[in-house]
């Protein structure tokens, strides 16, 4: 009896390097929002430049913590995958990882 031929899983071509990854991160994080939001933020903190800059710093630290968490999880599965797969790797609860993935997309 002939056994069915096993096909390897197709993979994406790996072409990105450190420079591309660095600029991809910078380009993703510093989006067009940075041109739109400084004014509204200054208005929300009553025109205080110091407080406005503090908002940017605190937001930056929170974003960095999120990015480090994602990167740490991502290093465990260095293959094409979205956030659902990333959360599923970290959590045994598939429904929870699905909800987290959908809500963050």
């Amino acid at each position: 009896m002939r056994t069915p031929r096993q096909h390897p899983m197709p993979e994406l071509v790996r072409t990105l390097r450190l420079r591309d990854l660095l600029l991809l991160f910078i380009g993703s994080v510093i989006g067009s929002g940075i041109f739109r939001t400084p004014g509204p933020i200054l208005r929300q903190v009553g025109g205080s430049v110091g407080l406005s800059l503090l908002v940017w710093v605190v937001g930056g630290v929170l974003s960095l913590l999120g990015a480090l968490t994602y990167a740490s999880l991502r290093l465990r599965i260095p293959k094409p995958a979205g956030c659902i797969a990333i959360f599923a790797t970290a959590s045994a609860i598939s429904r929870l990882s699905f909800m987290a993935g959908v809500s963050s997309s």
């Binding site: 450190l18 993703s28 903190v45 009553g46 990015a67 990167a71 991502r74």
Partner: protein, 135 residues
Amino acid sequence: MIASGSVAALARAFSEYLARVLPISPAGQTFSAVVMIGIVTAVNVWGTRKSSDLQNWTTLVKMGVIIILSALLLVLGRNYGHIPYAVGIALHGLGAWSSFGLAMITVLWAYEGWQFGTYSAGEVVDPQKPFRALF
């Protein structure tokens, strides 16, 4: 990954900025937003290398503009003390924390995107090394 909501919002922002430079109608703005989504989609489909090159160049231009704008505003900016406050904000007591929290929502939207870079790990040469170097 397709973040359709963000794509639509940013394409709309592009057309609004374009309208400040070129005299185009509201219908023209919508058309330019759709065309821009089409162009970026086409480059992405063309290949990872091409789309990465486009991303690299646009990011470098954006960084340059931000640095120049920041320097100009810090040196020449004067009227920031006269901007109108947001409606309903409080500057003292517990209400000040509420205003700070509202501002955090806005700033976290501006920073959104920190999770997107990790999705490209499957297209990175030997991803363990650059990811460790990056962080």
